[in-house]
Symmetry: C2
Subunit: 206 residues, 2 copies
């Protein structure tokens, strides 16, 4: 599925993929506005599809589940964070490495095209429905599975696996809380600032 389509285009994405991503982005935009206006549960897939000019079946070909419109591709952010973390020096305290990795994530965010408010809107919608929060936490679980081995490597052998899990989960909790309070804040507090304060609250015992 992922590799050769006869003439594999070496430059990043194939034409099809570009178009696919564009449609995805459009659906996301439309759906987000509907959700923000009427609430996640009050909008049916059929309505989103209609607003985007497609059938409900086609919607599901772009997003396996309704929640995925808001959540996005779990692998994207996860891979990004993993890469940043992997690039940190091995003698840096893991907690700081994690902090920096998430910092990089929230900094690059000023989302694709839109303003910063777009990200906030997305986050607010995400927090408004229980099923969305749940799905989002599941995404973090995937991230945890990507990060934990790398963290474990840097820990003293003693109980490394368990401790790595704890540390990663706590770091994700920091990210979660920081973004949540950021989304609910009306003042200009930046996500980085909240992340900083969050990471300062806890510390792994070296």
């Amino acid at each position: 599925m992922s590799s050769t389509t006869s003439s594999g285009p070496s430059s990043g994405q194939s034409l099809r993929e570009i178009s696919r991503d564009a449609v995805r982005a459009r659906i996301n935009e439309i759906a987000l506005d509907l959700f923000a206006e009427r609430g996640f549960d009050q909008v049916t897939v059929e309505q989103i599809a209609a607003a985007a000019g497609m059938s409900a079946r086609t919607f599901h070909r772009y997003f396996p589940a309704k929640e995925d419109v808001v959540i996005g591709d779990p692998a994207h952010g996860g891979e990004f964070v993993r890469a940043v973390f992997a690039g940190r020096p091995a003698d840096e305290p893991v907690w700081d490495s994690l902090h920096l990795s998430f910092e990089a994530l929230v900094t690059r965010s000023p989302q694709k095209g839109g303003d910063d408010d777009r990200g906030k809107l997305s986050m607010r919608v995400l927090l408004s429905a229980a099923s969305l929060r749940a799905r989002s936490l599941e995404k973090h679980l995937l991230w945890a599975r990507m990060l934990t081995p790398l963290v474990a490597e840097r820990l003293p052998a003693d109980d490394a696996a368990l401790r790595a899990e704890i540390i990663v989960q706590s770091a994700l909790a920091c990210l979660d809380v920081a973004l949540t309070t950021w989304a609910n804040a009306d003042d200009g507090t930046t996500a980085s600032e909240l992340l900083e304060r969050s990471f300062a609250t806890m510390r792994p015992q070296v």
Copy 2:
């Protein structure tokens, strides 16, 4: 809902509630075995209901959602933990108080009637399906909302709200990781032991 049914019986539960809980427990038992055998997604509500000798509609009168059979009532454990925590001395470090509260939770667990294995089975089923994990994390979110205010109270005023959230979330992460590894462990490692090690890994900065 909770209070007077004409002649409010002062001794814990009304007769109706006892019967209701018994039916719930029975459904839970039957369903858990089916899940363990065939997998959560491969068992339909109708099949559970049939095995329990009732219609699917009746099943849903006991459990709003299929997942709830495994998850249980979120308020139960949460209220328990909240109560234990509230009883801890105010000068005890919050991290220790949280540890003790969760410790009390996992210790009282040797589930209602069954052996300890019953709890492990339940946990394993819970970990086997994504939708269950998600729902379970949501439950923890509710617990967090119950605990955070109490924790915030004990913190120095400076940034208490944010820090309380971080600490509670991290504590819940410890609980989660401890129970997860416990469920997957075949040796006789106790949950308390794992919880102990988990809580030892991180520390809030006082």
